[in-house]
């Protein structure tokens, strides 16, 4: 007689902010097997390229996801610009960079909050999200949207930020740093948090690479792989180092994300200093013909927008390979052998975003 338990986990589950389902096979509370299914959020939006002209499609691309909405829009635009070989104005590149980093901070804070929630640390969740509102306020003030920014377009950006506002943003980030430190301190130092995270869901260095992990997930396993280093947008002009940890456990992933926020603050401050004056967009005519894999670093890792144009206003194919999709295989690997209580932590530790994984 087997003493196994087979239970459904998700799609509706309070610790999973998004629908993903796992069939968990447990022995007592040990996870013997976890088989995932996605598809609860699949909309099929890639096919909308056949109905929307490519400049309009930016707004669809943005809504692949509401968390790193901006980066999706931007990467899509970069893809089109890549095919059409457009050199967009420098200021637009800088603005894109700034907004990208704001997205990253907002996303990481959001994630830290959810992660705390998964550990049953409610007040930490509340505090992370309270801090996140500062970032959202700045995003809203500069783009007009809290989560869906809608400020990117093919050939540049749609809104400028005044230099006073830029300075204000930089100093705002400065003053936020203190509280951010306190927050991060809890994640990295508190013994109850460490008790839950240390050694939970270890992804070895080799597994991380061969199973195609990206973003903080691969960086936490000791690879210094950060797509921003390719130097798209203004990243080529700015100096920063990818945050790397080596343990490969949930704690390392948390650590990487926590520290990345400070890198982001630093990047924004550099960008604010260096941003050149000039136009923010350029006129785009014609239609893309050709194909290109646009890559960029989302909060969750490398995202790839594959765009294939056929010379008409309607693209032949747009495909997004989102970081979550790449991280699913590692996730399944590290879930095996954990405890039921760790399932939410491990699932969240790769920061899954089903929204864009399924499109």
């Amino acid at each position: 007689m087997s003493k196994q338990v087979v239970i459904p986990f998700g799609p509706q589950h309070p610790v999973l902010p998004e629908p993903l389902h796992l069939d968990l096979v447990l022995e007592d509370e040990k996870v013997v097997d976890a088989i995932p299914t996605i598809g609860y959020v699949h909309r099929g939006l890639e096919k909308l390229v056949e109905k929307r002209e490519y400049p309009q499609y930016v707004y669809i691309a943005e809504r692949i996801c509401g968390i790193c909405s901006f980066i999706h829009g931007m990467t899509y635009c970069q893809g089109i610009e890549g095919i059409m070989n457009l050199e967009i104005p420098k200021r637009a590149d800088y603005l894109r960079t700034i907004w990208s980093e704001y997205s990253r901070m907002h996303s990481h804070l959001l994630w830290l909050g959810l992660f705390a929630d998964a550990m049953g640390f409610e007040s930490l969740f509340m505090n992370a999200w309270r801090l996140r509102e500062h970032i959202l306020d700045d995003l809203e003030a500069t783009t007009g949207g809290r989560v869906i920014q809608g400020s990117c377009k093919v050939g540049g950006v749609r809104r400028d930020i005044s230099s006073e506002k830029l300075d204000e943003m930089a100093s705002g980030l400065d003053s936020m740093q203190g509280e951010l430190h306190d927050l991060v301190n809890v994640f990295l130092r508190d013994s109850s948090v460490r008790h839950r995270l240390k050694g939970t869901g270890i992804l070895s260095k080799d597994d991380a690479y061969l199973q195609g992990a990206v973003g903080p997930t691969i960086r936490a396993s000791g690879h210094s792989y950060d797509t921003r280093k390719i130097g798209y947008a203004a990243y080529g002009d700015l100096s920063f180092e990818p945050v790397v940890a080596s343990a490969g456990d949930s704690y390392a992933r948390c650590e990487v994300r926590a520290k990345e926020m400070f890198t982001s603050i630093d990047i924004v401050k550099q960008a604010v200093k260096k941003i050149p004056d000039g136009p923010i967009d350029m006129k785009v005519t014609g239609a893309p013909d050709g194909e290109y894999f646009a890559r960029s670093e989302q909060p969750r890792g490398e995202v790839i927008h594959y765009i294939k144009g056929n010379g008409t206003k309607f693209l032949a194919r747009h495909r997004v390979r989102t970081p979550t999709l790449a991280n699913i295989t590692p996730l399944v690997t590290i879930l095996k052998g954990c405890e039921l209580a760790d399932v939410p932590i491990i699932v969240l530790s790769i920061d899954p975003c089903i929204g864009c994984a399924e499109r």
Binding site: R52, Q56, Y57, Y59, I60, R63, F121, S123, L124, N127, R130, D137, E140, A141, T142, T143, G144, G145, R146, I148, G150, R158, R159, D182, L183, N185, V186, R189, D190, S191, S192, V193
Partner: protein, 130 residues
């Protein structure tokens, strides 16, 4: 190592006033740039259908014959494209949002001025306006 590292934040929270904005007792915070909803000045509209074409969600329907400009609030994603594309600048984005509704009636219809008799006048008109 730290037992109860959260202490500092907890005591800070207790000693400060709560961060809560107290909506709806006090009005919502929202930035001036916030895209709440699309506003039209129907009188300025020339029913050129440019907005209709640029709208990624087909929220706008312009009936050139009956002279109406119609928007479906439950479709509009407030992307601002129509505002950007309108030749007469009759569209704008307010930072007030559409209220929730209990029946699915997001459609608002505005009557726009009839088509001017002669083409030329229209052009003149718009020029003078500018």
């Amino acid at each position: 190592m730290g037992l109860f590292s959260m202490t500092k934040m907890v005591f800070r929270s207790v000693s400060r006033k709560p961060a809560t904005l107290m909506y709806p007792v006090r009005p919502a915070k929202s930035a001036a740039a916030f895209r709440g909803r699309i506003l039209i000045e129907p009188l300025k509209c020339i029913a050129c259908r440019k907005c209709e074409k640029s709208c990624p969600t087909q929220a706008i329907t312009v009936d050139v014959k009956v002279r109406t400009w119609q928007i479906d609030r439950l479709r509009c994603i407030i992307c601002n494209c129509c505002v950007e594309d309108c030749p007469t600048n009759c569209l704008s984005t307010e930072n007030i949002y559409t209220n929730p509704m209990t029946v699915r009636e997001g459609i608002e219809i505005y009557t726009v001025p009839p088509k001017p008799e002669r083409k030329k006048e229209t052009v003149d008109n718009s020029k003078t306006e500018e």
